[in-house]
């Protein structure tokens, strides 16, 4: 408890609070703009994070995470286009509310629901994560290897429409990660005596290329449109009435818990949580026919659930080192970049970063409420930002960001190369996230496997002797099977 209070005191200091503010405000902006997702927002902040103290950097990224997931509701409500995938369900009732002249109320409800969802999930993170970390401290290299195998199978869950293409992208990421020094023996693989290749592809430029540059190339296709859309919606009253708050409170609470649980399960995320919450709210409603026509519960449920996943997704990331969703996959890269390997040892070796994350997530949600309610009338202006200015600025920022890591033009070329690769692959149904998972988790898996082999003097049976390892292998098989069934259902359905 003392540590948590200390974390809060740090957040409110002059050294940290401006960066939390930047993260949350930037996140709301990024989330509100279609074409920019929470992942892209985090990547834009990565070069800055690298220059900051690790605690400050992580607080800023947590602010971006929470702000961006909420920000997606802005464009979902105002222009029927979700700013982030997590806000897709919010369109169903948010936009009809805006069409009825109640855009302000819809945005107000989205803000309140997102805040409650975020706070509840952060409480779960604070109480659950240290307990799980204590259990995970007992893991040996064979358990970690099994955990990494399970972590890699969530590739199936983030594979979009084709499991085969998702797995191919993941394997491609694993293959790229083998370029450079072998983590066990230190032998330089596939380097062809080129000094730059001996250390492999640096992670930050790979992330910038695969996410930010490929997205900019995709936006080039819509260049004919002038800005995003002309918004003439009147905002009106933002605060819902006391009766409306009372009526949606149970839905907000239950959706927040649902979102938290879904967030804890690796490979899920805000989009799944928001649709599940929407369906449940409709199912239990006394007036299900009104859903889809501007029912405030249809805004409250998905927004509480999608922000509920933020704290939940941080649980497997911080305790086990495997990402809960797409955004935390990028956060995993961010933590590795600043020299912190997430997992149970993080709680022992970097307690100040852990406390900063806990306090940061909680503070970000309160700040999000304040900023959201105060700036809601500015949102239509934000959505008018012309892409002819927005994306060139982001392009320049990303280029400079990839240069700033090592003062290296090679890194810029890597970012550009992976941008082209990411774009071509995405145009053909190969998702980018599995590549990132392969690049990040591959070396960790190989390192743990190597340690297990050294400890067992080359006896492979060690991998199958631990019940915990067998449990993770079982989860891995189930994860692949579940993904395959889901894809089959999507294609057949």
């Amino acid at each position: 408890m003392d540590a948590f209070v200390q974390g809060f005191a740090q957040i409110l200091s002059l050294e940290m609070f401006p960066f939390l503010f930047l993260g949350v405000a930037g996140g709301i902006l990024v989330g509100a703009l279609p074409g920019l997702t929470a992942s892209v927002g985090i990547i834009l902040l990565l070069p800055l994070t690298y220059k900051l103290d690790p605690s400050t950097g992580m607080v800023m990224l947590c602010g971006m995470f929470c702000g961006a997931i909420y920000g997606g509701s802005v464009s979902a409500i105002l222009i029927s286009t979700p700013g982030t995938p997590s806000a897709a369900a919010t369109v169903l009732d948010g936009y009809p509310l805006a069409q009825k002249g109640e855009a302000g109320k819809a945005l107000g409800i989205a803000t309140i629901a997102s805040t409650v969802g975020g706070i509840i999930s952060t409480f779960c993170l604070i109480f659950l994560a240290p307990q799980l970390a204590r259990i995970a401290l007992k893991f040996g290299p064979e358990e970690y290897f099994a955990l990494m195998v399970f972590g890699l199978t969530i590739i199936g869950s983030v594979s979009g429409k084709s499991l085969i293409k998702g797995m191919l992208a993941g394997l491609f990421g694993l293959l790229i990660a083998t370029i450079g020094l072998d983590p066990v023996t230190g032998y330089a693989r596939y380097s062809f005596d080129i000094p730059d290749l001996m250390s492999g592809f640096p992670l930050l430029p790979v992330l910038i290329g695969l996410f930010a540059f490929s997205e900019i190339f995709i936006q080039l296709e819509t260049v004919a449109k002038e800005g995003i859309q002309k918004i003439t919606r009147h905002i009106g009253n933002v605060w819902p009435s006391w009766g409306e708050i009372k009526s949606i409170s149970p839905i907000i609470l239950l959706s927040s818990l649902l979102g938290t649980v879904i967030g804890v399960i690796p490979g899920t995320g805000g989009a799944i949580a928001s649709f599940l919450a929407y369906n449940e709210a409709k199912r239990w409603s006394k007036d299900p026919e009104s859903f889809g026509k501007g029912n405030i519960a249809g805004v409250a449920a998905p927004e509480a659930a999608n922000n509920g996943t933020t704290g939940g997704a941080m649980v497997p990331l911080m305790t086990l080192g495997i990402p809960g969703d797409v955004v935390t996959a990028v956060m995993l890269g961010a933590l590795l970049l600043i020299g912190i390997r997430p997992g149970p040892l993080m709680f022992k070796e970097h307690p100040q970063v852990v406390n900063a994350i806990f306090a940061g997530m909680m503070s970000a949600n309160f700040l999000m409420l304040a900023l959201g309610m105060v700036s809601v009338r500015l949102f239509p202006h934000v959505l008018r930002a012309p892409i002819s200015i927005l994306f060139p600025v982001i392009f320049a920022l990303c280029f400079l960001g990839s240069f700033s890591l090592n003062n290296s033009v090679y890194d810029m070329a890597v970012a550009l190369g992976f941008g082209v690769l990411g774009y071509i692959m995405r145009k053909n149904g190969f998702p980018a996230v599995p590549i990132v998972l392969g690049v990040i988790l591959g070396p960790i898996a190989e390192d743990e496997l190597g340690h297990a082999m050294i400890l067992s003097h080359g006896n492979w049976l060690i991998l199958f002797q631990s019940p915990i390892a067998l449990f993770f292998y079982g989860l891995a098989v189930f994860s692949v099977f579940f993904s395959w069934k889901r894809m089959k259902g999507l294609r057949g359905g």
Partner: protein
């Protein structure tokens, strides 16, 4: 999409075979695990799944034999121009310095994004260059390339 999937499958299969072949140049088992092992397992998986994708694509092509292949939808000229501008930037950045090289990069990308107002192009290019300079050079103390003559 089926034809493109066939090309992708072929490229990935070739990549898998190439990377696998190169592992023969790696040393044999030095400690408990050889540097060859992981790449070989990955190449095996990559090859196998590429074959699966190839068969899927061939089957899809047969089914859609009379239909039209879906277009890529890539604006090749703009895309090519953007890559060229970006590549040129990486080449001239260290020679010309950040302050001289960056405004043309931003201006070029704005033109590709259909910005036609020259005053706006100039203003945004210069302002963004300046803001990024302040942020990276002065706030984060990242040394940026300078034009050698000033």
């Amino acid at each position: 999409m089926a034809r493109r999937d066939i090309y992708f499958a072929a490229v990935l299969m070739t990549l898998a075979v190439l990377f696998f072949a190169l592992t023969f140049y790696f040393p044999r088992q030095t400690l408990a695990m050889s540097p060859r092992l992981f790449p070989r397992v990955i190449c095996g998986g990559l090859f196998f799944l590429s074959v699966v994708l190839l068969f899927q694509a061939l089957r899809q092509r047969k089914i859609a034999a009379h239909g039209q292949e879906e277009k890529w939808g890539i604006p090749w000229q703009r895309f090519g121009a953007l890559i060229l501008i970006a590549f040129a930037y990486t080449r001239i950045l260290e020679e010309a310095g950040y302050l001289l090289a960056t405004p043309p990069l931003i201006a070029g990308v704005m033109i590709l994004f259909n910005e036609k107002r020259w005053v706006r192009i100039a203003a945004v290019s210069i302002a963004t260059t300046a803001l990024l300079y302040i942020l990276f050079r002065m706030v984060f103390r990242v040394p940026l390339p300078r034009f050698p003559f000033f």
